[in-house]
Amino acid sequence: MTDLESRRRVVDAPLANPSPTAGLLEVFRRRYLLKLLVRREVNARYQASALGFLWSYINPLSQLFIFWFMMEKIMGRGTESFAIHIFCGLIVVQFFIETFNAGTRSIVRNKALVRKMAVPREMFPVASMMVSLYHIGPQLIVLVIICLFTGWTPDPVSLLGFLLALGIICLLGTGLALMFSVANVFMRDVGSVVSILSNFVRFGVPMIYPFSMVEERLGSFAGYYLLNPIADAVLLVQQAFWVGTTQDPDATQAEHIPDHLFSYGFLGLGVGFVVLVLGQLVFRRFENRIPERL
């Protein structure tokens, strides 16, 4: 025992559970790891391609061009600047769908880490959300440049609406990703279900049709349509960018953007928060069984 005594070392730490238990809080405590995980995803995507990060600009530009050519030149829809209208919707929808899809698959995809390392597992859905958020950057730059060309001037209040829209999708997307990622561990069918749900999302928001059309067809029921937080987020982004690119922004605002949009937006943010809390609870409930099921 003297041998043992001589190399005794005093550890100044409490006896604690070795497995991380603080959930999402733990993720923020280890933001350095989160940062590296996000960077890993982003870098891996463009590795071994000659144009590298330029692709994330080429992609949205080509989409915008197709919308402009098809919708405005060929089909000649009545809505003004329809390409920008769609593109605004697309930014939100893609952010949501990528978060939801990649987030749902994130735990299974990071099997090696999840099964062998004591990292907070909420880390992976959150990282998926951050990667999707990161890809908004180039899209936003393309959007702003095009908008400036068409005579748009930034308006602080509606730009705050844009941030609100991002907040809604962050909370909602992460919450759903948490719930579905753990479900995906138990049944891989969930990944396929999520893909189908994503299709509904594309058509459940005023992207390829203007909101005025919904109001026209549904009348007073349009209020229920606005209970969809993703639809609110799309409208908030359209209010921030698309409205300003039309001939008469005030008329466009009155015709195509619902009244009290900010109230609906904050309601959507609340819904997102509730979903996130639920997601964390569901995740916590089933998390213990993850390593053995992977």
């Binding site: 190399r7 070795p18 891996a44 590795q47 069984r289």
Partner: protein, 265 residues
């Protein structure tokens, strides 16, 4: 119950049950239901396991295959949580387990070192400070800037080892995976483990090799079908397991240890 300040690991009445699922698709499940077979089964990997470890002790965890050693290690590491009972640890945990887990094949050795170190709980400054040491230990040369997907399996393993072994930890876990790498590398690993032991860190070593356990540990815990079968002095533990067939007496040369380690897998 309170524990003295010198306690490093507490395993208190820990039970861990695994569910074995026989059928996954609806079709298989309905067929099984019609035929009256079980849909799933469970088994106890660990049953009411209790012990405490003092800071600075080196424990050899032994037992036959399937006796629950790896599960116990994962519980101490914090990857799994017990179904009942509790596991408590003091200080940072690191070790030679699952080295290289989470390496991304498309990223370079350098990027992977930073990522892996972060997974193991190191900060950015800490990694930067130890970076050269890690690279030197891994000995991958100019491959450092190429994607690890192109590494030979030995280089891959060495890189994982190098990171894991440089984490400043209070508890060091080692699974029977020391057999990777060539002989000089194995020797380096053993020296490093001895250093770990001498620095007063708690060592938790899972092994089948009686020789290296005798060399490294001052207490042996033997698991038998998920229960603690023996907990005590090293030679008695090895005798309890009947691993001591007389063929391997006290190995003293470094080469012999090498071979012992090589036999780990």
């Amino acid at each position: 119950m309170t524990y003295p300040d010198s306690t490093s690991i507490v395993v208190d009445g820990v039970t861990k049950e695994f569910t074995l699922r026989y059928h996954r698709t609806l079709k298989q499940m309905s067929v099984a239901l019609v035929k009256g077979r079980d849909l799933s089964d469970s088994f106890l990997a660990l049953e009411d396991v209790s012990f405490t470890v003092d800071q600075g002790e080196s424990i050899g965890l032994m037992g036959l295959n399937g006796s629950g050693k790896s599960t116990l290690l994962k519980l101490v590491q914090g990857v799994m949580r017990p179904d009942s009972g509790r596991v408590l640890t003091r200080g940072r945990i690191a070790g030679l387990i699952a080295t290289g887990a989470g390496f991304h094949p498309q990223l370079t050795g350098r990027d992977n070192i930073y990522l892996n170190a972060a997974v193991l709980g190191m900060t950015e400054q800490e990694t930067r400070r130890k970076f050269d040491e890690i690279v030197e230990f891994a000995d991958v040369g100019r491959f450092l800037e190429t994607p690890v997907g192109n590494y030979s399996s030995g280089m891959f393993a060495r890189l994982g080892f190098a990171v894991a072994i440089h984490v400043d930890s209070d508890i060091f876990l080692a699974d029977e995976a020391l057999a990777v790498g060539d002989r000089p590398f194995r020797k380096k690993c053993i020296e490093r483990m001895q250093e770990v032991r001498e620095s007063g860190r708690t060592l938790f070593y899972v092994s089948h090799a009686a020789g290296s356990v005798r060399k490294m540990c001052d207490r042996v815990i033997v698991l038998e079908k998920g229960k603690v079968g023996f907990d005590g002095e090293v030679n008695a533990g090895i005798r309890y397991l009947k691993y001591d067939d007389g063929a391997e007496n006290e190995p003293d040369g470094q080469d012999e240890i090498d071979d012992e380690i090589g036999n780990d897998i």
